[in-house]
């Protein structure tokens, strides 16, 4: 992999945009990212790391169900989330908890969902529920972004939809990006190319050299970035978010990283497809056994030590601060686990929000279950319950 931050062609698989090398040293002049943001990036990444480990252990203990780890990808997620403005909306997949936390989603809610308690998404944090049917979020994120344009003629907010490499094969990827191009919606498509869709490597997913170059088919700008470099991801997504909403042409001409922008026709449209090149350090999910289909993956270039090295070098972190972050992260996580585990299953909750007003069928069926529950309690749920 080239270490140059200039990527002369987003269609060239050997190049990706980067600031920090794999050991955390700058290969370019530092980007204009505030110290507050840098420290937020760090703490969010620490939290993501801790959450990931805790979730895997909770799953092993049977306290939550299947979990999709983020290790190797949390840097891209956190950087993208922090590059968004408050008014923007996140359309996440099942693997994007780090991005959700960085937007303010309560980790207790995520743990509760993983433990099987309904209630996903967070309108206050402007985070949609996680999208499991692959790529279906993309047309919706485009429509959401379009809303502002239709309402006021202005891009009132951007939407950022995440997706995997596998998702680029679905029809909804195509239809979503095409709508974004045609209606010039303020949408950022954040593809985390982790090299795998469960057991299928990206090379068998598509014969395109890169995923970023697919943007050109829609007249949309495509950019390829080292997603394990949180600085480069932040700068790239920040630019995409600004371009989506602000002065499209000005940002497009911005000298910061003109050559990262290559696949698009002119770069002067609102939507952007950002391909972050990442590695999936672990299994697809806790149900997956990657030894069936791949060698032990290369786990170098981990974003967390990379960022930490950089921040220590800049004097923003030292042992004491690092420890303080660790304490805050642990406290937050403990509290979240506790709150999540306090939740109880409500046998009739499923009837509540099928429609704004329950239909007669829903009401009758609820009554049917309530009658049985009253008489038999949990035995209604069967042996296995």
């Amino acid at each position: 992999m080239s270490t140059t931050r200039r990527t002369p062609d987003a269609a060239d698989a050997d190049h990706r945009y980067r600031y920090l090398d794999e050991s955390g040293h700058l290969v370019e002049d530092p980007p204009a990212v505030t110290e507050t943001t840098l420290l937020e990036l760090y703490e969010s990444l620490r939290f993501a790391r801790a959450f990931d480990e805790r979730a895997k252990s909770l799953q092993r203990q049977g306290r939550i169900a299947t979990y999709a780890p983020m290790a190797g990808q949390a840097g891209a997620q956190v950087a993208a989330a922090l590059a968004m403005d408050d008014e923007d909306w996140l359309y996440p997949t099942y693997r994007d908890n780090a991005a959700k936390f960085a937007r303010g989603v309560d980790p207790a809610d995520v743990l509760a969902l993983l433990a099987g308690h309904e209630g996903d998404g967070d309108a206050d944090a402007r985070v949609m529920p996680e999208y499991i049917p692959i790529a279906t979020q993309l047309p919706q994120a485009v429509g959401a972004a379009w809303t502002g344009l239709l309402r006021s003629g202005e891009p009132e907010y951007a939407t950022l939809a995440t997706l995997g490499d596998g998702a680029t094969s679905e029809g909804d990827f195509h239809e979503g990006l095409n709508f974004a191009g045609v209606f010039d919606t303020p949408t950022v498509f954040l593809c985390q190319n982790n090299g795998w869709a469960i057991s299928t490597p990206t090379e068998r997913q598509t014969r395109s050299e890169t995923l970023a170059r697919k943007a050109a088919a829609y007249g949309v700008e495509g950019v390829r970035v080292d997603g394990m470099d949180p600085l480069a991801t932040y700068v790239t997504v920040r630019r995409a978010v600004r371009k989506a909403k602000d002065d499209v042409a000005a940002v497009a001409d911005e000298p910061a990283d003109p050559e990262a922008v290559a696949a698009g026709p002119s770069g002067a449209t609102r939507p952007t497809l950002v391909e972050t090149v990442v590695r999936r350090f672990g299994a697809h999910t806790t149900s997956d056994d990657p030894s069936r289909y791949r060698e032990e993956p290369d786990r170098s270039g981990d974003p967390l030590p990379r960022l930490e090295t950089y921040l220590r070098g800049r004097g923003l972190l030292d042992d004491e601060r690092v420890a303080a972050v660790g304490d805050r992260v642990e406290t937050r996580l403990e509290a979240a686990v506790e709150r999540a585990e306090a939740r109880e299953t409500d046998p009739t909750a499923a009837f509540e929000h099928v429609y704004a007003e329950p239909t007669p069928a829903v009401d009758d069926q609820r009554a049917e279950l309530e009658r049985l529950y009253e008489e038999y309690g949990d035995r209604v749920a069967g042996e296995r319950h």
């Binding site: 529920p129 429509g143 959401a144 309402r151 239809e175 509540e352």
Partner: protein
Amino acid sequence: MSGADVDPDDRGSEDVGEAAERAPTHDRDDADAEELTLVEAVRDGLAAEMLRNDRVVVLGEDVAENGGVFRTTDGLLEAFGSDRVIDTPLAESGIVGAAIGLATHGLRPVAEVQFSGFVYPAFDQLVSHAARLRTRTRGDLTCPLVVRAPYGGGIRAPEHHSESPEAFFVHQPGLKVVVPSTPRDAKGLLAGAVRDPDPVIVLEPKRMYRATNERVPAEPYAVDLGEAAVRREGTELSVFTYGATVESTLIAADDLDADVEVVDLRSLSPLDRETIAASVRKTGRAAVVHEAPRTAGVGAEIAATIQEEALLYQEAPVERITGFDTPVPLGEAEDYHIPAALRVREGLREAVEF
């Protein structure tokens, strides 16, 4: 904060300015009802709801410049402009998916699918998302989306243009499904759908688009979803039907030497089970008429409901008079597939004479 930053029941600005002047069917005297065809009533309903609520937007293939292939959206572009009447690329999943995004964020999209046979590429967006957003977010986010599509046969259309897919949507919790049979209901059910806080599929009987006129009130009005309409009262037999087959059922009922009650279901989801049960308890005999295939069609649900709610009153099995379990045939052969008045009458006779 609501997910959409707006009160989902807020009707938006009532000050519609010039749009009112330009609205295509509003050049008539507003106090008066006017004779409209079903297609004109759909258009009138769209215009009325767009005037009433500036969050209502119409999108789909060929709906703007061309006014829709059936002209249901004719004149709306001129009246409401290109931010509210939008020609999209040819991609139904994109249309419905984008419309879900619009609906979640404060607009009231009315997406047209050009023919109901082309709704299948959008099936995933409808059943996996539109139907569930409310449940998944415990009511935090919602999807007040309308999808309109002409359905059914009878116009000698090519393959895939004559589908009756209503049962697919009726089976999916979280969706609502309505089917107007008259111009008046076409306007009223559409308004009911647009104002409904949940996703509604409106299937319009295309062979009725220009088949009859009816006086349709000029002012906006909504028919409540979930309420059937008794089109003909009777004491000896209850017939349940909807949309395109209401007409042939009424003819058959007139033709039959028995006192037949004809119930136009109008709303297939939710289903007006009370009206259905009450009618059969009164008559003791029932039939259902639709042109979709019989097996696992809406008629099956009605028959199941009737025997659940009124078995002890049933003097005969519920007769299902339906399209056959075959693809809709082309050309003149479709007239044998769609229950025509004579076939309906013979079916009703069986129910009466059982």
